[in-house]
Symmetry: C2
DNA sequence: TTTGAATTTGAAATCGCTTTGAATAATTCG
DNA sequence: CGAATTATTCAAAGCGATTTCAAATTCAAA
């Protein structure tokens, strides 16, 4: 069913039908009613490509994912939130997967040149993110999930990683811990640097030296975390507490602690960052896990809204949101063992 | 940069430029070279909407996800595989998220009517899947990940869930287990029914009665699995083995076993189905987990190829692939305890 | 009634590309 | 050398919507 046929069927011009359906005021109410009734009955929907060509709007938002690494649980939670809200606005989500960093830049260029999307969601930034530079240069609107320090104004939404780690570390210090290990993500990524800052600040405020053997930088899988934690537990004196970068990391650390014959929450404490996965609940772990918590899904939802604002013309400089992070204390964090 | 401008710049007609870039034979090699060089230098890329409108092809494949429930780790693995292969073919992936079953049907209708996609990937089917019926009626090409029994030919790719569970159950029976619990997905879904069939067949072949208190149907999260396993372990005589539907389920069962003061692999055995998540490795669990294994990501990759074949005109009746499932024995499955 | 304004409708241009059908230039062949 | 191919190129017609500009109709005021 095309607009043309619908118009013919109704004995009207395409112009009038189009106007009626798009809610323009200069059309008789009776006609409008007749048109929308017929459209609904015949299941008419404008052809997306034609509409896009005519309006110049793509009606889609793009997101580029780096192949295997990035399609983890974090991303899917985020996408769930983002996609949900965008569906409400009848905006499509165009997902592109790429293999390498280089391909990623090319992918943005392609998206821009072919005008497939009206905006882009950028994520997992580094401190000096060249993708953000590129998008600014290309003039394609975007919202960054995270922050970068490229010296140009970028619209962003981020959680307060620095504050979160400062509080978590402080809490462990209050409990008497002095050797606190930090299992962080890969260096270079902004959130990793921010978390390290928070951690160091808390230590420095108490005059506790930074020990680099207690810091690990890796991807967030239980396997790698297990190995890192295992070797850290062999240090003497060994760490009495862990700050885990994700729930997957926490699982690995947990395994290492158990295998070393130690008790989580007594011999060793842990606070993990929880992005709120519906299938991995800190409350259901044994012992229950103390966490710094911030919902990835909610961030996705909100970013969809911010994209909407950008497209509606809100100046990019006015878009930045820093979300506080909850510290939820449960059984996995207890007083440092007497020695 | 538009085709028109590029043509003007070169002193050629749009026709020739278009043909040169699209590899038509009737264009002088020298001209073609000149054109593609200029196109590359000026960064020309055809406008996607215009191209789609002119060719009638959308250059995109759609996938509808049911909001929160479905955006789990399974889906993201699958999407990773699917998207990767589709990117090679320069085909976009249009992801739509919906809240309810009803919305999902509407979403397919919309995709069809607005011609946003050339084909659709359908997944998580029920035995009588009405979405498959709808897609057939709408005449929109698709490939089903899984199977359905609606009596009309549907192109599909599936793993041999029935065979997998029959073998896993048989293995446990060989080890002397007689009370084997099955933690399956929600009734109605095809793979759930298939797994149950395999399980029942193995039991029946040894003359062992089916005990419905040993069967659980739920979503695959560790939380629910924990509760189910916990209550099953309170039965007397209690189950000596578990068949877990997913790795998340396995985590929950594991927790229940430990909490009951039992030893996995000795007091109680378990074989879990492993969709091969990079961040949850059966080999790295403690004890290592026996699994029925089949890569979700690979399935996604292959489905992208099948979609390609369908769009290239291969008859849908010729497209069905049944993948065998590996049984990988590790430490979590041992002989039934003497009693 | 006329007339001027306000409503309502339509014809045609436009978006940026592909493709058909025709025209021109270059080759080949008898 | 002229006719018949063959190789190149181009003008113009779509694709299916929106939107501009003009026309027709209705209505109210003079």
């Amino acid at each position: 069913m095309r607009l043309k046929e619908l118009a013919q069927h109704l004995g009207l011009s395409q112009t009038t039908v189009s106007r009626a359906l798009n809610g323009y005021p200069e059309v008789n109410e009776a006609t409008r009613h007749r048109v929308s009734e017929a459209a609904a009955r015949l299941g008419y929907r404008p052809n997306a490509s034609a509409l896009r060509l005519a309006t110049g709007r793509a009606g889609a938002v793009g997101m580029v994912l780096r192949g295997s690494e990035e399609f983890g649980p974090h991303t899917s939670e985020f996408l769930g939130g983002l996609g949900g809200r965008m569906a409400d606005a009848e905006i499509d989500l165009l997902v592109t997967t790429v293999a390498s960093q280089h391909d990623e830049m090319a992918a943005y260029r392609r998206l821009a040149a072919s005008q497939k999307v009206d905006a882009v969601v950028l994520h997992s930034p580094t401190l000096r993110d060249e993708r953000a530079e590129l998008l600014l240069d290309l003039g394609i609107p975007f919202v960054l999930h995270g922050r970068t320090e490229i010296g140009r104004p970028v619209p962003w939404l981020d959680i307060d990683n620095e504050g979160a780690l400062e509080r978590a570390t402080n809490h462990l210090l209050d409990l008497g811990h002095r050797r606190i290990a930090l299992l962080n993500g890969l260096k270079g990524q902004t959130f990793v640097e921010h978390r390290e800052r928070g951690y160091r600040q808390a230590l420095a405020a108490r005059g506790i030296g930074f020990d680099k053997t207690l810091m690990g930088n890796s991807i967030f899988t239980d396997e790698v975390a297990f190995r890192l934690a295992q070797s850290m537990l062999e240090l003497r004196p060994r760490p009495t507490a862990f700050l885990a970068g994700s729930m997957m990391t926490a699982l690995g650390v947990f395994r290492a602690i158990r295998q070393a014959g130690l008790q989580l929450g007594q011999d060793v404490s842990m606070i993990a960052h929880d992005d709120v996965f519906p299938y991995l609940n800190a409350d259901n772990m044994y012992p229950t896990m103390s966490t710094t918590r911030s919902s990835m899904r909610q961030a996705g939802t909100r970013i969809a809204e911010l994209i909407g604002q950008i497209l509606a013309g809100k100046p990019a400089e006015q878009i930045h949101e820093l979300w506080p992070v909850e510290l939820v204390l449960r059984e996995s964090s207890g007083p440092a063992p007497a020695r």
